[in-house]
């Protein structure tokens, strides 16, 4: 098996576009929260989210009108990632494109449903932009990768890690030479409304692990990682952000929406075993950390089950980015890669008082310098779809 390096990052997020701006945002503890403008929020008592503002799809796409917003994000992030990796196009390289998503083109579906409900005609061209497959196919088309292995992984809010895991296996086994993998999602009414109805949307800010947390903020964006064999990366003198050490996947096979502590712990152990890493070697956990009452307590409990009473620092970048659904674990993976490369821990912002039931050092509000060797990236999804990826410092 070949070792696998992360050599490029592409990011579209509410706290910065591009790896450099994103890193600056993480270091500064920037917040992406603002009033939601993506859909009509009349009738909701509060509507704060983490939108990407000022995104110009024409900068990245020749035909932006053929893709849903999430697809535009995916193409932009993939294009940035390839450039960031210093790859002059991908030429004949055997390539994989794998994009995770929760909603795909669901925001376009909402426009159609709304038109029908209002008795209006279906807006022209919208139906063609609904299928989620377009997220990865759009990347392949825009980057001229006719022979690429293309997949859109629709494993809800853990999808980014699923895509990265598949890319890791494909590169490690020699199936492909380069994998562009991550996740993308656009703000949509359905997700916001569903979480709002569950009482799981914070009115103002996302504050994971805090005693007074009130839930998620919905967000949007995309994160794409370039994975390639470590040997190839070293040989071409590429900048190496991190090494992918391994990952784990499992399914709670239980409750439709509530995470299962023992199953989440089992997924972390699967990832640690796969990476050949002892729990004591992990320096940082980038948690799923949604900021809901239930998630944070359950996830922190699982972390203590695996790591003992004094777990590694456990942060949530969702405090800055909101919950970007299928992009969430991809953006978190990009953050892990940057943290390893630049030697700092991104903070959990909006933090006042740590919930004793969470009981983790969440690195409140301000980034800290740290000599990181191994970082763990957690992702949990509705349906009990767990995925955990382990990253190591570049050798």
């Amino acid at each position: 098996m070949r070792r696998v390096a992360v050599t490029g990052l592409g990011v579209v997020s509410s706290i910065g576009v591009g790896a450099r701006e994103f890193a600056a945002g993480l270091r500064a503890g920037r917040s992406g929260a603002r009033p939601i403008g993506a859909f009509d929020t009349t009738g909701f008592a509060h509507a704060t989210g983490c939108e990407v503002v000022g995104f110009e799809p024409e900068r990245w796409l020749t035909r932006p009108e053929t893709l849903p917003r999430a697809g535009q994000f995916a193409v932009a992030a993939a294009t940035m990632a390839v450039r960031d990796a210093g790859l002059d196009g991908l030429g004949d390289a055997r390539t994989m494109v794998s994009v995770g998503t929760t909603d795909g083109g669901g925001d376009r579906g909402e426009r159609i449903a709304e038109a029908v409900v209002r008795g209006a005609g279906v807006p022209a061209g919208e139906a063609a932009r609904v299928p989620a497959a377009l997220l990865s196919v759009g990347v392949a088309r825009e980057l001229g990768l006719a022979g690429a292995e293309v997949s859109t992984v629709a494993t809800a809010c853990a999808a980014g890690n699923y895509a990265i895991g598949d890319g890791f296996d494909a590169v490690a086994a020699g199936d492909v030479d380069v994998a562009l993998c991550g996740g993308a999602d656009a703000m949509c009414r359905m997700t916001f409304t569903g979480f709002y109805r569950l009482g799981a949307v914070d009115p103002e800010r996302c504050r994971p692990f805090d005693t007074h947390r009130q839930g998620i903020l919905t967000g949007e964006g995309a994160g794409v990682l370039v994975l390639e064999p470590l040997d190839t990366a070293l040989a071409r003198g590429a900048r190496i952000y991190a090494e992918v050490l391994g990952y784990g996947l499992n399914c709670d096979a239980g409750h439709p929406v509530a995470p299962d502590r023992s199953s989440v712990a089992r997924c972390m152990r699967l990832a640690l075993d796969d990476a050949g890493v002892e729990p004591g070697e992990v320096d940082l956990v980038s948690a799923h950390g949604t900021g809901t009452k239930a998630n944070d307590v359950t996830e922190c409990g699982a972390i203590r089950d695996v790591f003992g009473a004094t777990p590694p620092r456990t942060v949530s970048v969702k405090s800055m980015l909101g919950h970007t659904m299928g992009a969430a674990s991809a953006l978190s993976a990009a953050a892990c890669s940057i943290a390893l490369a630049e030697g700092f821990v991104p903070p959990t912002i909006n933090h006042v008082e740590t919930d004793p039931e969470c009981g983790v050092d969440c690195v409140p509000n301000e980034a800290v310098a740290a000599d990181l060797r191994v970082v763990q990236n957690n992702a949990l999804a509705f349906g009990g779809n767990n995925s955990v990826v382990l990253f190591g410092r570049a050798p």
Partner: protein, 345 residues
């Protein structure tokens, strides 16, 4: 990777037997005329008959369940009883967009009720694309990798390729791999909007996959190759020819026993003829039998070939090919070697 069993829930009825009989008869499954709020103009569609969710799965956990999830849960269950599943058995299912009906209904509730948040939160997990795979795992206690691929008509190729990698990397001991598509006016609306005039259908088809190295060669088929290609220039047939050239490497033309195609026209079989230099006479076109079943069409093609092969004297050891074409320009092919075992169904 070998396929040791398969199950279907199709417009021919529940279970592989009904599907196999239907495909062998060559007579299209019955179509019924229906309409709903999303597509008020009644049109015939090939629905799975006698599939009332509560009747089939019981009342517990089904109150807000979408039809696609129910079809998948039921179909995995048909196989689950027969194959050996363990704690690392996974589920990999393909879809187009999940349950469009549930997504549209949820949105409509938000837009039309007295408050925009007066929606049914129990519907939310069923509005997500991972619902069919996740609920199938929950229903049948399958705690291994659980993945949903939104690959549209290429779902058959996509799930086999992905599951094959899971098995090779030893992340799963076995995988229930397949696809599901539910019929609804909401889906009809989207398909008609993009110019699809085919009669629509629905169903679920699931294969059970194991590593070939298990020592157990008793199987329906071995997966020889999978491949996809993007017709970036719009030249779909040329892309399919290139894809087939790769997946059919080392296969002699007279080894090919049968072909399954995703479309209604002859483009796919013409592409196969161009690559092999000879026409394959035995062609399964699920679209002609059970309608355009979207994501599940490719898997129905494979199971249709298996159904024909198990009653044939000359299929054993030979090769079957399934091709797929999607509107987005993706084309794909799967090549399997038929091993002559009837398989678990």
């Amino acid at each position: 990777m070998i396929i040791t069993g398969w199950a279907t829930t199709s417009p021919y009825g529940r279970g592989a037997g009904a599907f196999a009989d239907g495909v062998r008869s060559g007579v299209p499954a019955p179509a019924v005329r229906g309409a709903d709020d999303w597509f008020p103009e009644p049109e015939p569609a090939h629905l799975v008959p006698d599939f009332d969710i509560e009747d089939v799965l019981g009342r517990k956990g089904t109150g807000s369940m979408d039809r696609g999830t129910a079809l998948a849960v039921h179909t995995v269950g048909l196989l689950r009883a027969e194959v050996g599943a363990d704690g690392r058995t996974g589920v990999v299912l393909g879809t187009t967009s999940g349950s469009t009906l549930t997504q549209f209904g949820f949105t409509a509730d938000s837009l039309t009720r007295r408050r925009p948040y007066f929606v049914n939160p129990a519907q939310m997990p069923f509005a997500l694309m991972n619902s069919a795979a996740a609920r199938s795992a929950g229903w049948h206690g399958l705690t291994g990798p659980n993945t949903t691929l939104a690959a549209g008509r290429l779902s058959g190729v996509a799930v086999l390729r992905y599951a094959g990698r899971l098995l090779r990397a030893r992340r799963a001991s076995g995988v229930f791999a397949g696809a599901v598509e539910e019929h609804s006016g909401a889906r009809a609306l989207l398909e008609r909007e993009v110019g699809n005039t085919a009669r629509l259908g629905e169903g679920a088809a699931v294969l059970f996959l194991r590593p070939a190295s298990n020592g157990n060669r008793s199987a329906v088929a071995e997966v020889v190759a999978t491949g996809t290609r993007l017709a970036a220039d719009g030249e779909v047939r040329r892309a399919l020819v290139e894809c087939l050239r790769q997946t059919l490497v080392g296969v002699a033309p007279d080894e090919v026993w049968g072909l399954a195609v995703s479309g209604m026209d002859t483009m796919e079989s013409d592409a196969v003829r161009e690559v092999l230099g000879t026409r394959i006479d035995r062609v399964v076109a699920p679209g002609r039998l059970v309608g355009d079943t979207g994501a599940v069409g490719g898997v129905f093609g494979l199971t249709g070939l298996f159904a024909l092969a198990e009653r044939s004297d000359d299929a054993h050891g030979r090769v079957a090919v399934a091709t797929a074409v999607d509107r987005d320009g993706m084309v794909g092919s799967v090549v399997v070697r038929l091993l002559g075992v009837r398989g678990v169904r």
